[in-house]
């Protein structure tokens, strides 16, 4: 009886440890993805990190309830996306005094990187381009927007995006086509960077 109880306790501890290890592996694998998804909505590093962190905490609480662990990334992406949208809405309601997101605001780290490569004129142009691009992306319907963002992160192809969104590849292809079309229309005036 005692041996049986010990064996049961041991198996529970082992299961717990395995769960922890698996979550750690998923965390290392998907943290950047979650951050970028959140950043695509919020476009502020601190906010995006906060939201991604919250999403991971939430994922951790429900990780043992996730039947198919291979769907973790898709689950995390959708959760992060929704949480980021919620944060964006509440932020917009709360602070009308802050700099509106998308008015040419570029992440300081990106700006520093650009600054190292470009001269002042190019830097201004790059900032302007990024601002307009974000504005155009923001005007897209939510479904198209998510497809564009996911396709633009970590070089995801159609199959990967369809797996992340749990929709058929054909649907992803169609949405991506629509999204690109609308973006090109909105940015048609913009620079194609064909100097000289």
């Amino acid at each position: 009886m005692h041996e049986h109880a010990e064996r049961l306790a041991g198996s529970l501890v082992t299961a717990d440890l395995e769960l922890e290890r698996e979550f750690e592996a998923r965390l290392a694998d998907s943290s950047r993805l979650a951050f970028r998804v959140a950043f695509s909505v919020l476009r502020q590093r601190e906010d995006a990190e906060d939201v991604a962190q919250e999403a991971f905490a939430k994922a951790y609480r429900s990780f043992n309830q996730l039947r198919d662990r291979t769907r973790f990334r898709a689950w995390l992406v959708r959760m992060t996306w929704r949480m980021a949208l919620d944060r964006q809405r509440s932020k917009r309601r709360r602070s009308v005094h802050e700099l509106p997101v998308g008015d040419g605001a570029v992440d300081p780290v990106v700006e520093a990187r650009l600054h190292a490569r470009l001269d002042t004129a190019d830097l201004v142009a790059a900032r302007e381009r990024a601002g307009h691009l974000w504005k155009a992306i923001e005007t897209l319907p939510e479904k198209l927007r998510l497809v564009v963002v996911l396709a633009g992160i970590e070089g995801h192809d159609l199959r990967e995006v369809s797996a992340l969104l749990d929709v058929p590849e054909g649907t992803v292809k169609s949405r991506l086509f629509q999204a690109r079309k609308q973006l090109k229309e909105r940015l048609s005036w913009m620079v194609t960077d064909t100097k000289g």
């Binding site: 979550f23 905490a57 780290v109 691009l133 992306i137």
Partner: protein, 196 residues
């Protein structure tokens, strides 16, 4: 704008622009922060379980105290509550004196035996819920113990029933009280006080 030509944007250019806009990495503190958060979630989980166990323990303790209290109130002979009081040895009392017990079969005046009517208190079972109610009569602890022992003894039929007339017959006759003769009290006048 900025010396660049405004022309249609190709898919590749757009993709490049989007990837550049989304190619942002989280800060180096991002992963450690998530790990710390997950660790705090674990601690919270442990505390939650500990709290649940504490509440459950407190609940069990309260229930135990309540059960013991009820048991003490009802007395240790509560198991024999269902014993009919009518089984107790009959005693001469107001029931037979007032004619409520009419044993027609013994009298032989009627061919059909008349139903024996007993006072309700002698024939009905005492419901358990009434047993749980606190006693209306306040008696001392010693008396309560003695009463319980008596009831238990009656239930176990350990009390020897003896007729009162027999007792009266066996007891010695009370000696007549002699007349008390009081001698008359004589009152003598008081001697005069000195100086009067």
């Amino acid at each position: 704008m900025d010396g660049h030509r405004h022309e249609g944007m190709s898919d590749e250019t757009l993709e490049r622009e989007i990837e550049a806009a989304l190619g942002i990495d989280p800060s180096p503190e991002f992963l450690p922060r998530i790990r710390a958060r997950i660790a705090s979630e674990r601690v919270n989980e442990v505390w939650l379980w500990r709290g649940l166990w504490q509440w459950a323990g407190a609940g069990v303790a309260v229930a135990g105290v309540a059960i013991i209290g009820l048991w003490i109130l009802n007395g240790p002979a509560s198991g024999s509550r269902d014993v009919r009081v009518a089984n107790a040895p009959q005693r001469p009392g107001p029931a037979s004196d007032s004619g409520m017990v009419a044993d027609a079969a013994n009298s032989g005046s009627s061919p059909t035996p008349a139903p024996v009517r007993r006072p309700a208190a002698y024939t009905t079972r005492v419901p358990r819920d009434r047993m749980a109610t606190p006693p209306e009569v306040v008696i001392s602890r010693d008396e309560a113990v003695a009463l319980r022992q008596l009831i238990a003894a009656i239930a176990a039929r350990q009390v020897e029933a003896v007729d009162i007339p027999k007792l009266e017959g066996e007891s010695a006759p009370i000696a007549p009280i002699e007349e008390i003769v009081l001698e008359p009290i004589e009152l003598s006048p008081m001697a005069g006080l000195e100086g009067e």
